[in-house]
């Protein structure tokens, strides 16, 4: 739609752009999202040095991104080294869905992470799953960036 407008009202838009110097970068103003998946590190905590505790998802999705798989492989390596540690995978959704569907979606996301950890040799006995749906956002904002931070699965040490 934006493109359409530019073509139609090209001159006007260019003038506006000059006036607002940030125009060209405004679409990716934060540089913290790819598509609508969060790629920043604002909210991320670390289970150990270089082992991020969470992965992020696209809207309504539970598919792991390339970056998420990399994070989970690091977690798996850390878990293999520390075989006494058990974990809870906490699945979350953003506030833009109905409460009950989001509970199911959070569970699905946490299980996507669990399945991946299991393929890297982590026993299911060491993993439990807990969905919070949209009940525990990390960012209380009502904007796409905040929502992207909230669509997550967080690995929490259970012992």
């Amino acid at each position: 739609m934006k493109l359409n407008k530019i073509l139609r009202n090209g001159f006007l838009i260019i003038v506006t752009c000059l006036a607002l110097s940030a125009c060209a970068t405004s679409k990716k103003s934060t540089g913290q999202m790819q598509g609508d998946v969060y790629t920043g590190t604002d909210t991320v905590e670390y289970l150990a040095s270089g082992v991020p505790d969470r992965v992020f998802f696209a809207t309504n999705e539970s598919v792991l991104t390339t970056a998420s798989r990399e994070t989970l492989r690091k977690q798996a390596a850390w878990l293999r080294k520390n075989s006494d540690i058990t974990i809870v995978l906490e699945g979350h959704a953003d506030e833009r869905g109905t409460r009950e569907y989001n509970l199911a979606l959070g569970e699905r996301r946490a299980n996507a992470a669990k399945d991946y950890l299991m393929t890297y040799g982590i026993s299911s006995d060491r993993i439990s799953v807990l969905s919070y749906g949209k009940e525990r956002p990390v960012d209380s904002g009502s904007n796409p960036l905040a929502w992207s931070k909230n669509r997550r699965s967080v690995t929490v040490k259970a012992n």
Partner: protein, 446 residues
């Protein structure tokens, strides 16, 4: 509960008068019926007795105020200003001077009186058609004085039923989730209140997260989701005794519970290994049945009032849509085909409609459609709202709405709202704290 319902209804003298005033509730509230609610008259000794017990100066006026507020809230009636009333309330109750009431443009008139008899509250009231100059209804009943608010609600129910031809919804309660604290660490408690917001009471302390309470349509039992010990499970709660128990023995999260119309089963979702399916549990013999079996998310189940069908939402098509099936899980059929996502289907107590939440282009809608998916009507649009629950007569929906926060994440609130099936008469439902997940009870005095 039994004691609470200790209440006799005695029919005094109902005129079988025909073709008197009628209120059409199928259209909007464009022309609310002008009605005069004459304060219930009370003799001096009764007044003193009630003042001692209930700490209310004039219980007659207090009850009338409840009736007035109920009628106004319904959107179908316009209670007239008492200052304009010409006739004293005790005389009006015996024989209204219809010219006087006609003069202030009242079309209907409610009169009555309250007495203190044998430690009980006795009330009688009459409904009059002012234009026809006739009595439409006369009723009397006796109850414990503490039930005085319910007396106001029952009078409203009777008047509403006589004038609209449909049962009322005023002698009812709403159970909901009371919310406090920052958005990232919300404290949630179960709470219950009368339909008009009075008698609010918290049922849990807020130590654990609680969600989605729903009434049993046949009793004062509630089912809800609790994160007790960080294990999200469906629970049963007896409101009177406070007794709680977990429903079934599932190795994972159970959620989205509702009762069957006969109150004998609970239907809910059970999530395992990333898949949510719908299950029922019989509360008597504890037998669990799996109703859906699909690798998608199946949730928010709700029975039809005859118990023969179930509506639910599923993302088996790729996105959240509404489906219906027979109560044994067979004949699954998608019914929502409009643009956007559809969730939280709830079957109307009248059986003809399904209320739902819709998300389309970043806006949330509460709407209704017929049970075959036709005739979709969106009643209200907002930044975020969901979870409609029907009044027991199927005329009003209560739901919750959340506000958009500002750039700093401030300004969040959640409130209950109600709206008529017609799409008119949208109202904030007053609650002492923020509120969500409302569920409307059946009529208490049935």
């Amino acid at each position: 509960m039994k004691k609470f319902l200790f209440l006799f209804l005695i029919l005094v003298l109902t005129n079988e008068a025909k073709a008197l005033i009628e209120v059409d509730i199928t259209r909007g509230n464009l022309n609310p019926l002008p009605i005069a609610v004459s304060p219930l008259s009370i003799d001096d000794s009764s007044k003193k007795s009630f003042e001692k017990i209930l700490k209310k100066k004039n219980i007659g006026s207090e009850i009338s105020l409840i009736v007035e507020k109920n009628l106004k809230t319904s959107g179908l009636f316009n209670p007239l200003n008492k200052d304009a009333f010409l006739q004293a309330s005790d005389i009006a109750h015996l024989k209204p001077r219809f010219e006087d009431w006609n003069l202030i443009k009242a079309q209907a008139l409610i009169t009555g009186k309250v007495n203190y008899v044998d430690e009980k509250l006795r009330v009688e009231f009459r409904l009059w058609d002012v234009l026809a100059g006739k009595e439409m209804m006369a009723l009397a009943f006796t109850t414990v004085p503490n039930n005085w608010r319910r007396v106001g609600h029952i009078i409203t129910d009777k008047v509403y039923e006589r004038l609209t031809g449909e049962k009322g919804y005023f002698d009812t309660r709403i159970i909901y989730v009371a919310e406090e604290g920052p958005k990232t660490r919300r404290i949630k408690k179960l709470a219950i209140m009368d339909q008009d917001g009075a008698n609010n009471k918290f049922l849990t302390l807020g130590n654990e997260l609680v969600l989605t309470p729903r009434f049993n349509p046949t009793s004062q039992m509630v089912t809800y989701l609790s994160y007790f010990r960080n294990l999200p499970r469906v629970y049963l709660l007896d409101i009177e005794t406070g007794m709680q128990e977990v429903v079934g023995d599932f190795p994972g999260m159970t959620f989205a519970p509702r009762f069957s119309p006969d109150g004998k089963k609970i239907i809910m979702s059970f999530a395992k290994d990333g898949n949510s399916d719908i299950y029922t549990m019989d509360l008597e013999n504890r037998i669990v049945e799996k109703i859906t079996n699909h690798p998608s998310i199946d949730t928010s189940p709700s029975y039809s009032p005859d118990g023969k069908f179930i509506s639910f939402n599923s993302d088996r098509s790729g996105y959240q849509q509404i489906y219906i099936m027979k109560s044994d899980g067979s004949n699954v059929k998608r019914i929502s085909f409009g643009k956007g996502l559809y969730g939280t289907p709830v079957w109307s107590p009248r059986g003809d409609l399904i209320a739902f939440t819709k998300l389309h282009k970043g806006k949330f809608y509460i709407g209704v459609m017929r049970t075959d998916g036709s005739g979709e009507r969106l009643l209200t649009e907002n930044f975020y709202q969901e979870a409609p629950s029907w009044s027991p007569n199927g005329r009003v929906l209560v739901f919750y709405r959340e506000t958009k926060t500002d750039d700093k994440g401030k300004g969040f609130s959640a409130k209950l709202w109600s709206i008529d099936l017609t799409g008119y008469n949208e109202r904030l439902v007053d609650t002492p704290t923020d509120a969500s997940d409302p569920s409307w009870s059946s009529l208490l005095s049935n």
